[in-house]
């Protein structure tokens, strides 16, 4: 009847070390965000609501803004492609790479690329693909998966990373000092940058009025990777367009603060298009691949607000379930609250398989409270629970509710049941052969039943 939910089981099985890393990283993220945002703005909520309104407006006119962006990009000499599925996006990128005879490239962190599993695809097709973001680089060395939107290795500690470097022969003997690890990675990566023939990035924003791409990083890796290569391909979800460049004043101020507690990330790159005649370096060829991959379906659904997401990871940091279970528990590119909404609907055909994700929440609303674009995540989780029920998706843990509804709409039965519940005080209910009840009572002591006492008191005092 009621089985253990997969995410609860994952949290039981997770190693203490991994869980400690996740809890530590995410709690610090939450605290930093709070302090930076509240120190700088007397009312951060009004800023969040403004950002939400801009995003909603954009999504409402998404077709128009994409067209504007396409025109502006083309005028800058950028080749623009539209990919409706993940397969289209992969093939488009591969064919551009083949036209330019690319066999080695560097890639800066991109959730869109994670979403379509671009790396393994390119490697299969003979293109060496090196992650240049430190966290993603470590993920790649370990054959692991990122578990957080902005901190892909939040689940690892520095000892594990030092062991990886030792195993891979990067930088010599074991050393788990973070600065040493970073320095060693830098030396290793710089050699690779110089031989790469292309750079692949995502984009945080695409300004549809100017056609400029905006990328934020803390390591400068995308900027560095772009300098020596002749070809730049940006893979961008269609929801990343914003109406005007000046809207960045709102989004950039919120993104850094929400993601990492920084007023601004260390690098904010504005990419104007391919190298112009008077620029000393930079790619001569630039392609932007706008990817749908389920986004227009989401836009047509009753969960379209999730497309406001600017991928800051604040909801992951604050979520108590994410903290206990880690991002890997969500069995998809996007974990935590945003993933619990996005994953089941973005990959439409995976809904039945991922319909348990929206249940992994106490609906506490902390995710909505910290969201820089005010996504009502708990409401969306509820709508998806309703969808799962309506579509009769068999998911573990669906407690049958019609007996409850029957009782709660029959006042006299209800009153009798309340009075009868006192019998529980004299029965050893913890031995009742009901597994979830036993689980619950194994950890918790139920208060004594006072069923119907208030009603009696209220009536008698009149």
């Amino acid at each position: 009847m009621i089985g253990i939910q997969p995410i609860d089981q994952y949290a039981r099985d997770i190693s203490e070390e991994k869980q400690a890393s996740v809890i530590d990283g995410s709690s610090k993220g939450t605290d930093k965000r709070y302090h930076v945002l509240h120190e700088d703005y007397p009312n951060p909520d009004s800023l969040r609501k403004l950002a939400a309104a801009i995003k909603d407006h954009t999504l409402h006119h998404l077709g128009e803004y994409l067209e504007k962006a396409e025109t502006a990009l083309t005028n800058r000499g950028v080749h623009v492609h539209f990919a409706s599925t993940d397969e289209d996006a992969r093939q488009t990128i591969l064919s551009i790479l083949r036209q330019h005879n690319v066999s080695q490239l560097t890639k800066s962190k991109s959730m869109a690329a994670e979403e379509i599993h671009l790396n393994p695809f390119l490697i299969e097709n003979g293109v060496e693909c090196l992650e240049s973001d430190l966290g993603e680089f470590i993920i790649q060395l370990d054959g692991d998966e990122p578990s957080h939107i902005v901190k892909p290795i939040i689940h690892k500690n520095r000892r594990e990373i030092a062991e990886t470097f030792l195993r891979e022969g990067i930088g010599g003997e074991y050393n788990d000092d973070p600065e040493t690890i970073t320095r060693r990675a830098r030396v290793h990566l710089r050699e690779k940058y110089m031989v790469a023939q292309a750079g692949i990035t995502g984009a945080n924003f695409v300004c549809s009025d100017t056609g400029r791409l905006v990328l934020v990083t803390n390591e400068g890796n995308s900027r560095f990777g772009m300098a020596p290569v002749p070809l730049h391909i940006a893979l961008v979800g269609i929801e990343k367009v914003i109406p005007q460049e000046k809207d960045l004043a709102v989004f950039l101020n919120l993104l850094g603060r929400s993601a990492t507690g920084q007023q601004l990330t260390v690098y904010t790159e504005f990419i104007n298009g391919p190298r112009s005649a008077n620029q000393p370096d930079g790619p001569e060829h630039m392609h932007v691949v706008f990817m749908d991959n389920g986004r227009t379906d989401v836009l047509a659904s009753n969960c379209k607000e999730i497309l406001r997401c600017i991928r800051c990871g604040a909801c992951q940091n604050v979520c108590p379930v994410y903290r206990q279970a880690s991002g890997h528990a969500y069995r998809s590119t996007y974990g935590g609250p945003v993933g619990a909404v996005l994953s089941p609907i973005l990959f439409g055909s995976r809904f039945p398989e991922l319909a348990d994700l929206p249940k992994a929440s106490s609906l506490c609303g902390a995710c909505n409270e910290v969201c820089p674009v005010d996504i009502p995540i708990p409401d969306l989780l509820l709508r998806l629970r309703d969808k799962a029920k309506r579509e009769s998706v068999p998911s573990a843990g669906a407690i049958p509710m019609s007996p409850f509804a029957h009782l709660a709409t029959s006042p006299s039965f209800w009153r009798t049941a309340m009075t009868m519940s006192k019998a529980m005080n004299h029965l050893p209910i913890q031995v009742a052969p009901i597994k979830p009840l036993q689980d619950w009572l194994g950890q918790r002591t139920l208060p004594e039943s006072h069923g119907g006492d208030f009603r009696k008191w209220f009536k008698n005092r009149k």
Binding site: P320, L382, R390, M401, R415, W440, H450
Partner: protein
């Protein structure tokens, strides 16, 4: 959370006692009546009330929860304010219900939403009571757990203001206050492990401040936290915030 504008502030109100007070926490419901009466309010208790429907709503069985919500809206029909000693059940009325009826709006549901007040919010923002005339005999450390359903509402600030105004009350902040207690209704049944861990972390943070008493505006959070605390051998004195208001009256 939905913004409620111009909710009625009559001195005659309907009490929505909540199923938890009906089954376990009669003292919280009694205190609600007595505090409201102390403020000159006439309290009526519609006998046919049951539950707000939240268990079915949160489980995703909206067919079931809409039936319960309709029953609830019928029981509390009229123009009077509906006062609830629970941020969670109040939020079900003014936020959850409009959500589950968004495709087929129902005037009775909208009316209930527009008249529902969490009790502390009603006392402060409905009746205009800004200071509570209560007193503890000696300095008393209070841990106030702000329940999740009061996020984005006026209830948290209202409760805090009243508690802090009690003479000799020392409201002691604790760490990671934004974190959930882990109850979440059926969530605690279907995710027993994560729910238990969440509750234990919350208890760690609360007990670190050595409170004399733990209070909240939701008995469900307290049932979960103290249920864990007792099993873990670290029981903590607790009650609904409204019970403290009642207890400290001269």
């Amino acid at each position: 959370m939905a913004t409620q504008l111009q909710r009625p502030t009559d001195k005659r109100v309907l009490l929505m006692g909540t199923c938890l007070c009906d089954a376990f926490y009669d003292e919280a419901a009694k205190a609600t009546v007595e505090v409201l009466e102390h403020l000159g309010v006439t309290v009526e208790f519609p006998e046919d009330q049951t539950c707000c429907g939240q268990p079915a709503f949160n489980s995703g069985d909206w067919n079931a929860s809409r039936k319960v919500a309709r029953h609830c809206a019928k029981v509390f029909a009229g123009n009077l304010p509906v006062i609830v000693p629970s941020g969670s059940c109040a939020a079900m009325n003014f936020h959850g219900n409009p959500l589950q009826f968004e495709e087929n709006p129902d005037p009775a549901i909208d009316s209930l939403a527009a008249r529902t007040w969490e009790v502390m919010d009603f006392i402060v923002n409905g009746l205009g009571v800004k200071k509570w005339p209560g007193k503890f005999d000696q300095p008393t450390r209070i841990a106030f757990h702000r329940s999740c359903h009061s996020r984005g509402t006026a209830s948290g600030a209202a409760t805090l203001a009243l508690l802090e105004s009690i003479e000799n009350a020392i409201v002691t902040p604790f760490g990671q206050a934004e974190q959930c207690c882990g109850f979440g209704g059926t969530f605690s049944v279907t995710f027993p492990h994560i729910s238990g861990r969440m509750g234990s972390l919350k208890l760690d943070n609360i007990l670190d401040t050595h409170p004399d008493i733990l209070v909240s505006g939701d008995m469900s959070c307290l049932m979960h936290l103290t249920g864990l605390a007792i099993t873990q051998g670290r029981p903590v004195e607790h009650c609904h915030a409204i019970q403290l208001l009642r207890k400290t009256l001269p």
